[in-house]
Symmetry: C2
Subunit: 150 residues, 2 copies
């Protein structure tokens, strides 16, 4: 599994938020309902994104969360790093500590390129861009595909 479940949920919610970019807060209840993700679990995940200044939140009636800046300025990598950290882009395929140029494992050289490739893919794509593609291509971000990018 490339990303943790938490990270996946965070990405899906972020894409939702990016597709509803009119500045208003969206409640986590609505998000969890639309995306079929447990409310409390999603709440915690979004708290991490808020703590990382990717989202901003408001308590109380009509409160919720929204992107802290235009979706064009938040990359997929931002979300991944905020939730899963940079382990995926740091760690050794064989799990060896301190695997690097100095004392590499047999996988080091070949994996380096792949993982940088993945990182670049996430880095060069914004939430806005992904959400736009999702909307235009009628792509899924829910298991049952019920979310229609209203």
């Amino acid at each position: 599994m490339l990303f943790s479940k938490s990270c996946i949920y965070g990405l899906r919610a972020s894409l939702y938020l990016a597709s509803n970019q009119n500045g208003e807060y969206i409640s986590i209840g609505k998000l969890s309902d639309k995306l079929d993700i447990s409310f409390h679990f999603l709440t915690k995940i979004l708290q991490q994104l808020t703590a990382n200044d990717l989202l901003e939140s408001l308590k109380g009636p009509n409160g919720g969360v929204r992107l802290s800046k235009p979706g064009k300025q938040i990359t997929l990598l931002d979300i991944v790093l905020a939730i899963d950290g940079d382990e995926l882009f740091q760690e050794c395929v064989l799990g060896l500590p301190g695997c690097g140029m100095e004392k590499p494992c047999p996988f080091h050289e070949i994996w380096l390129h792949k993982r940088d490739d993945i990182k670049r893919m996430l880095e060069t794509r914004s939430l806005a861009e992904m959400a736009k593609e999702g909307k235009e291509g009628h792509l899924r971000i829910t298991p049952d595909g019920k979310y229609k990018w209203d």
Copy 2:
């Protein structure tokens, strides 16, 4: 994490075995000692490889495990598939069931290439080849680097 711990241990042990290719059985006790992997845990993992006909085992004195065929004929992918299955090469980045050409998620298209790339990398490299590179380059397959490809 790309591979599970089990898979990592299986790969490291397989590389060890491929570097000691003179047909004799090597005890799991020796393997676990050299590679710093828990004996019982490693035993179970190697049983999976044996069950998949990648290794063959012999009980009793001078028993142990060895590659079931020349290391040149076993790919890294063989080991990965035997332990982790093909999930990594099948599953959706967003964890959506049945994500494919018909009803893709926004990541589908871009991830497809990356994962095929990784698969090809594992498919085109044999244990023998990797072990040879490891030996010649004095590369690590243990956390402390104490294994010296005797």
